[in-house]
Subunit: 205 residues, 2 copies
Amino acid sequence: MSTTQRKAKEKEELKELILQAAKNLFVEKGVEHTTMRNIADAIQYSVGTIYVYYKDKNAILYDLHSKGFQEFNNVMKVLMAVSDPMERLKALGRTYIKFATEHTDMYDLMFNMKAPIEFLCNAELDIWHQGKSTFNLLRTTVQECKDQGYFQHQDVEPLSFAIWGCVHGMCSLVIRQRVHNIGVSSPETIIEDGLEEFNRLVDRK
Amino acid sequence: MSTTQRKAKEKEELKELILQAAKNLFVEKGVEHTTMRNIADAIQYSVGTIYVYYKDKNAILYDLHSKGFQEFNNVMKVLMAVSDPMERLKALGRTYIKFATEHTDMYDLMFNMKAPIEFLCNAELDIWHQGKSTFNLLRTTVQECKDQGYFQHQDVEPLSFAIWGCVHGMCSLVIRQRVHNIGVSSPETIIEDGLEEFNRLVDRK
DNA sequence: CGAACTTATTGAACATTGTTCAATTTTTCA
DNA sequence: TGAAAAATTGAACAATGTTCAATAAGTTCG
């Protein structure tokens, strides 16, 4: 069976090679300015080969999207070690922003682009597990804050969504360039400053 | 001069015709699934004619984006009549969400899509006036809340940005389908519920 | 070893896009 | 009316995602 195993491994390796080449090109020149032929050239294979390993361009995008969430999830999960829930909540926000600003293109792909979700819908996967589990980290943390006397008379799930929305919204507005040239005093640090003020709203019993 | 005036008026009318046809098609089948030929067919002109009135597809998108902001601005400006600033702040949020959920495609174009901003950058317009003036409505309202004793020790500009981010983020997550199939209990009303909880965070002295 | 069979790879070909521009039609006005 | 100006056309182009018959490489077994 060693040959079939080796074959399978080689196939996986080539698939990974395609994925990484695609990622590099996407980061370098943007998703919509990267062609299938570009990817093929980068790995020194012909266009046709890519279609053996991926159904279409969206499939590559979805795979990248998945890998991104895996990593994102891991980064966030580490923070569950912070015992104080309010501290943890703040840390989740900081880490989220750090990820978004350091991996702009990945973040865009994960949270803004339509392609990966279209692929997901076409594939008829009715639950988006990765998104669900990341959101659960937040929901759990907010619940624990509530247990400690924060957020009295507040509903955990909608509140968690609002918090997620706030952090995501700030990142999204900056990434999608809706804050540039708008007359904001410090565009470089506006997200961090925004988070600081948001934390002040949240950290009250 | 009546002929030249009429000519100018006719040109404007045709430009508007193109714009409305484009908008209808965009709403109907999505921006990226609407072709220039589709727009031409809809208005019973040939493709070439469109290019007399618009430099390229992005120019149409930008024009639509501008018109959208004009309307958005008008809707929001009305709320400045609400004298109590905290009430006004909440009304701004509600109205923002209403606009976003009722004109999904327009909102997407205005706040998420890259094309209009790319056009803006290429045109070397260094200030995005419409975005600026809408943000100022929010900033002014937050400032007035502060004058009334809310948001003590908070910085108005970053706080305004955080508030904007929260509302935008929730809308964006829903529109871009990042909340579907995630296990949230009430996806239909999640934005409104989220806003309600956010308002509870904000409405404390 | 080598022939039959399986798998992997290729790249020309296709349909569809945004965009251009020389040719054609329509309008203007002295 | 007829020549100049303006408006409109649609075939043609380059670039894109995608397909698939043809080719090459690898595997198996007598």
